[in-house]
């Protein structure tokens, strides 16, 4: 099943889906394993696993630090593949890779797609790869049936959104605001207008990310978006209270 189909079939049962985020190797793959278990058991619909990169330009302080620590722990791309294979094997929710383009480029684009496809990864989120730069990437995504998740931003014009939507598969990742990951967003009138523009530009499901932290935030998104993305929030939670805190937190979000 394609990513979009998977999400749509879940949407039949829920008014909004939940996607969570982890940085592979931070604080360790063992903890990642436990966190993912708690996420899945508490109803998360999709998980983006970030392969750490030394230059995570689009990430805020929390995820940035997580990337660095993961690398300092010795996390290699190969480790990430093996761990991802284990997860995709174990759980039936869709898993995505999030990373920066250099990780894929350096590995070899086609080899990377092939490997990810074998493992059962459903999509890629690459924040520094706009479609203009990703011709071969998009072709391979088609070929290996891995959804390239494209990103809308509040600064995107309607025209640009149309263009992005054409290339996108699976869902569109709507960045809630200007800035990097990890800060709270305001969901005011501008935000609602923005989501309307997103909705008008594509028939793909809409995921909203950046700064979603609470049940209220998610409530506010219902009816306007299809999926809420929890990013840095769970990283901070694990740091403060350990992996066990993730389950109750996720459960409390709906």
């Amino acid at each position: 099943m394609h990513l979009e189909q998977q999400l749509r079939s879940r949407l039949e049962r829920k008014d909004i889906l939940l996607m969570t985020h982890i940085v592979l190797g931070y604080p360790s793959l063992a903890v990642n394993r436990e966190v993912i278990r708690q996420m899945v058991e508490n109803g998360v619909d999709c998980i983006e696993m970030q392969i750490p990169f030394s230059e995570p330009m689009a990430d805020g302080p929390v995820i940035l630090k997580a990337n660095q620590d993961a690398l300092a722990n010795g996390t290699r791309v190969e480790d990430c593949f093996q761990f991802a294979a284990e997860m995709a094997e174990e759980y039936e929710i869709p898993f995505l890779f999030m990373t920066y383009y250099n990780i894929i480029f350096k590995y070899g684009e086609e080899d990377f797609f092939k490997r990810a496809a074998e493992i059962g990864i459903r999509g890629f989120i690459i924040p520094d790869l706009p479609p203009e730069m990703g011709k071969s990437f998009l072709a391979l995504a088609d070929q290996y049936q891995i959804a390239p998740i494209l990103i809308f931003a509040p600064t995107s014009t309607d025209e640009r959104m149309q263009e992005l939507a054409d290339y996108g598969r699976g869902f569109i990742y709507c960045v809630a605001r200007r800035g990097v990951t990890g800060k709270k967003s305001e969901f005011g009138i501008d935000f609602i207008d923005y989501l309307k523009r997103c909705r008008a530009a594509t028939t793909l499901p809409l995921a909203v990310g950046f700064g979603i932290q609470s049940k209220e935030d998610i409530e506010a998104l219902k009816g306007k978006a299809d999926m809420a993305v929890i990013g840095s929030r769970t990283i901070k939670l694990v740091e403060a209270e350990g992996a066990e805190a993730v389950g109750p937190f996720i459960a409390g979000l709906r």
């Binding site: 230059e55 383009y101 924040p127 494209l150 014009t157 800035g179």
Partner: protein, 411 residues
């Protein structure tokens, strides 16, 4: 060498940017294109540079060095005499004019040694813009004098505590600021790297160096030089002087990279003339990077903070591939010797960065004929680097001076 519509030079360059920045890059590209088409813009730029900085900068005939090596006549292009002490001013002032046109009210910049930060803070003061400079925490500690001046000129200097806490991390952090404050902010990129249109745009502003140098060498020497040398950090001063000579077939262009402790030491910043580097994509563009097999960027090292960078201009990478520019490197030791010799022989103090170009030239100039000429681009002045240079020379009186001052301040 112009970029294609996606910002590529051959297969290098591009604009690997987060979507939030897409629109602002569109505006930047359009404004830049308008400026390039508008002869009045370049006129305004020349007029600014001649009234605020001191362009044209001189081309100095280094008679003593020429005699010393007994080879070609050595000419030095004196970018050290620019306002703020380096070629960085050319780029920054040009972008300042662009910012004025775009109506933005705030600029940000990354800086390594502080040279580009100083230049940007200066431009911001001159143009009445708000200014934030991102600088690796390591560099803030090492380069306090520059931080002091930037603050005095009204800029906010933010120490970046992530990663290696040096230049590349400052670039990442500047991008984070930009995606957050994109509407009213322009990111004044400091070298001929980064996402398109920066490599080409920065090279364009810097091309004033080579345009002047070509006129000057014709005037003093009567014909084109045999070789032109420039140090290569990000590549802006090199592109600046090379551009005008690219079509002069008899002129060999030589870029000198930071050899650090030596090409085999693992402690260097040689991207184009060593096998340690490989193609990659980071900080918004595709070029040769010093990275590991996974694509993680490595630590680099150079005695010159401004050359201590993992990437290099995609234009230079393309010119390297097409054999239009030859790349060499000079080690820290060779550089200190070249600096020492230049001070003693000519009374000129090149920046540590620029001293790489001198070191590269000194290795080869002796084999040329005294009827030939070469040009060395002196990208900046070294007296700003007293803390680094006196330290690198291990000067005991300097150490004593600092110790005594420290004790005085501790009281």
């Amino acid at each position: 060498m112009n970029q294609d519509k996606n910002g590529f030079f051959g297969k290098w360059g591009g604009a690997y940017i987060p979507e939030v920045l897409y629109q602002t890059f569109q505006e930047l590209k359009e404004e830049y294109a308008r400026c390039r088409r508008d002869p009045a813009f370049w006129e305004e730029y020349l007029s600014l540079m001649s009234t605020y900085s001191c362009r044209p900068t001189p081309l100095t005939h280094a008679e003593n060095l020429s005699r010393h090596f007994g080879g070609a006549q050595i000419y030095i292009k004196r970018e050290d005499l620019n306002h703020t002490g380096a070629h960085k001013a050319n780029n920054v002032m040009g972008q300042g004019l662009l910012v004025k046109r775009m109506g933005k009210k705030r600029v940000i910049a990354e800086t390594g040694a502080g040279q580009h930060g100083m230049a940007t803070a200066t431009m911001a003061a001159k143009f009445g813009l708000k200014c934030t400079i991102y600088m690796g925490e390591e560099d803030v500690l090492r380069q306090r004098p520059n931080v002091f001046w930037m603050e005095k000129m009204g800029a906010t200097v933010v120490p970046v505590k992530d990663g290696s806490r040096t230049l590349k991390d400052a670039i990442n952090e500047a991008f984070r600021d930009w995606v957050t404050n994109v509407d009213e902010t322009h990111y004044v990129f400091g070298t001929a790297c980064g996402p398109s249109p920066f490599p080409e745009m920065v090279s364009w502003f810097q091309s004033i160096i080579g345009i002047e140098a070509a006129d000057q060498i014709m005037k003093y020497h009567g014909r084109m030089p045999k070789k032109v040398y420039a140090c290569v950090g990000g590549g802006s001063n090199a592109m600046g002087i090379f551009k005008r000579f690219l079509d002069e077939k008899e002129v060999e262009l030589v870029g000198v990279e930071a050899g650090g402790h030596g090409a085999d030491s693992g402690l260097h910043a040689i991207r184009l003339s060593s096998p340690d580097a490989s193609p990659g994509v980071a900080q918004g563009y595709k070029t040769m990077f010093l990275q590991d097999d996974d694509g993680q960027m490595k630590q680099t090292h150079s005695v010159a903070a401004g050359l201590d960078y993992v990437g290099v201009s995609p234009i230079l990478t393309a010119l390297c591939e097409s054999d239009q520019v030859r790349f060499e490197s000079a080690t820290d030791d060779e550089v200190m010797q070249a600096l020492d010799l230049t001070m003693k022989q000519e009374g000129i103090i090149p920046a540590l960065e620029s001293s790489h170009a001198f070191a590269g030239a000194f290795k080869e100039v002796g084999t040329l004929s005294p009827d030939d000429a070469i040009i060395i681009n002196q990208s900046g002045r070294g007296d700003k680097d007293i803390f680094t240079i006196a330290h690198a020379f291990g000067d005991p009186s300097w150490k004593k001076f600092i110790i005594d001052r420290g004790i005085e301040y501790s009281k």
